[in-house]
Symmetry: C2
Amino acid sequence: MSESAPTRPPPTDREQRVLQIIETARAKRARFRDDQITLAHGAGGKATQTLIEGLLVPAFGSETLQALGDAGGVTIGGARLAMTADSFVVSPLRFPGGSIGELAVNGTVNDLAMAGAKATALTVAMILEEGLPSDVLRAEVEAIARAAQAAEVEIVGGDTKVVPRGLADGMYLSTTGVGAVDPRARLSTAGLRSGDQILVSGPIGEHGTAIMLARDQFDLDAEVESDTCSLWPAADALLGCAGEALHCLRDATRGGVASVLNELARASGVGLVVREADVPIAPVVAAAAELLGIDPMYIANEGRLVAFVAREAADGALAALRRVAGCEEAAAIGEVRPEPPGMVMVQTAFGGRRVMDQLVGDPLPRIC
Amino acid sequence: MSESAPTRPPPTDREQRVLQIIETARAKRARFRDDQITLAHGAGGKATQTLIEGLLVPAFGSETLQALGDAGGVTIGGARLAMTADSFVVSPLRFPGGSIGELAVNGTVNDLAMAGAKATALTVAMILEEGLPSDVLRAEVEAIARAAQAAEVEIVGGDTKVVPRGLADGMYLSTTGVGAVDPRARLSTAGLRSGDQILVSGPIGEHGTAIMLARDQFDLDAEVESDTCSLWPAADALLGCAGEALHCLRDATRGGVASVLNELARASGVGLVVREADVPIAPVVAAAAELLGIDPMYIANEGRLVAFVAREAADGALAALRRVAGCEEAAAIGEVRPEPPGMVMVQTAFGGRRVMDQLVGDPLPRIC
């Protein structure tokens, strides 16, 4: 990389003790012990992880699920496929830069892209609230159709259920996608290696900020549009340029870049160092995050990926990524270290260093 | 078949006029003109058809959807696959003979089976209501796991969203399944041919009746269990016995056997005649239907299929079906005629004859 690797002063005794305590906590198997479901279980952070790893994965006992990737791999009729599912409960249904229908297509297309697969077929299941104006439904059906066309994916099936007034918030959508895994792809959540460079495909936090502004929850006279888009072109460019040197792709949705990095550090048993000053972020997003008291690294994106590329291929991969429409501001934001395993450290702009932990609670509910 | 084809007296002038009027209405393209969504749009009858054929299929412009099968066909990586999606909003979540989790697996496994495909991979997306007791969730996760194991399908992915208290009814599930299409399968909604015999795999109406009883909506001291089960063994037996002589399979879920027959009569441009006296039905289901004033032919099933088999292969197919566990009471209930195209006629037990039209409205909301 053109950026020199950050030099790291030896940790103090206190820092080492703190790290040890966190490492011990991390090494424990997640257990689901809550009495009831809270909004945090849907936020993509620690509670979601506990639910998935502590209840769902053990119960379903599937090897594919153990990998905890964005999409499951499955071989059917001799073809190596990726398959993924997502639900969408965003509020409001429409927001600057997108809507629930567009999100539902791009979200699933992107989960497949992160598994190295171009989406071929999509299903759309709709849960509609009794009394939903037909115009609202029509607009979302059209948004789904447009997004599917843009992503070159065929809608092959669907389902419609209606629940009584009050028992949904207009509409909820569930989409599932299937695609063939690209032969160039050797991607894995456990594939991060020491020295890998961490790339991000563009400015972060715009989707979550756009939703917040659309909710009029705080007084900010600014315009931010959701980043929702298909990430296949970016994944395709990275696969084409880096091939097997591309170790992992992940879209930074719920819980933001911070949550993705934490998940992957744990899955690969490596440490990650992020250079805060190198993370691209629009001033208006930074301002909104400050007003709300949220680190923008935890704000959701719906059209931004994080890529892990072997050091020798990283410069080329970043250049290739920047040539993709919408990824002009892609940046290298950090690298993989052998330790501390399972943890993400941030080098602040002021030269300090801190742990960037998983998201706790749900500061921004229902952003997708 | 062993039953002789029913002889049909020539229609009276009045009957012919009525048929002509209905035929003309049927030939028109469905248009979605409602101002807002009603429960009827989710009931599987006429309103659902209008929504699907009048809005969704034209907007999504997919050839696969035009076929209006239970599952879409798609070729990925050289493999001929079937793919299907379903949402589940049943109330209550548990009922005699099953629960929403079991329903969600079997419903999707069955849609694939009706396309001649054994389910290989399944995704489960959950929309949970804030405050849902964890024990309720755990029970459904275990029901999903058990049903998946029974159907020999792997759960390869999923998603969890949480919506605020009041904005869902405990939980909604969406499942999607993929499987390879069996090489023996030549199934199509447009495949019905004059002379085909109509088989049903067991007594009808038990699922919907079990749900009604579980809701305590009326005073009936009877026990009925849902028929929810995987229909792949039945589909497999029929494919093995009848091969290409098996023209179409359909599970009779929302809207019951009557709605399925109407859909298929329209898709194939044929007339269907059903012998009411030959339709297997448990006395308690018949009694419940009578009390509620509903024709049991419109009550939902979650483990019953309707098969269309060429006349010469029908006896063997029925015998093969009856050897499948749970299908001992399978029966031949009618046959395909060249006309009136798009219509279903019932020969009543008393020798009369009437049109069995599509379901209008939603007498039994949220049965799946």
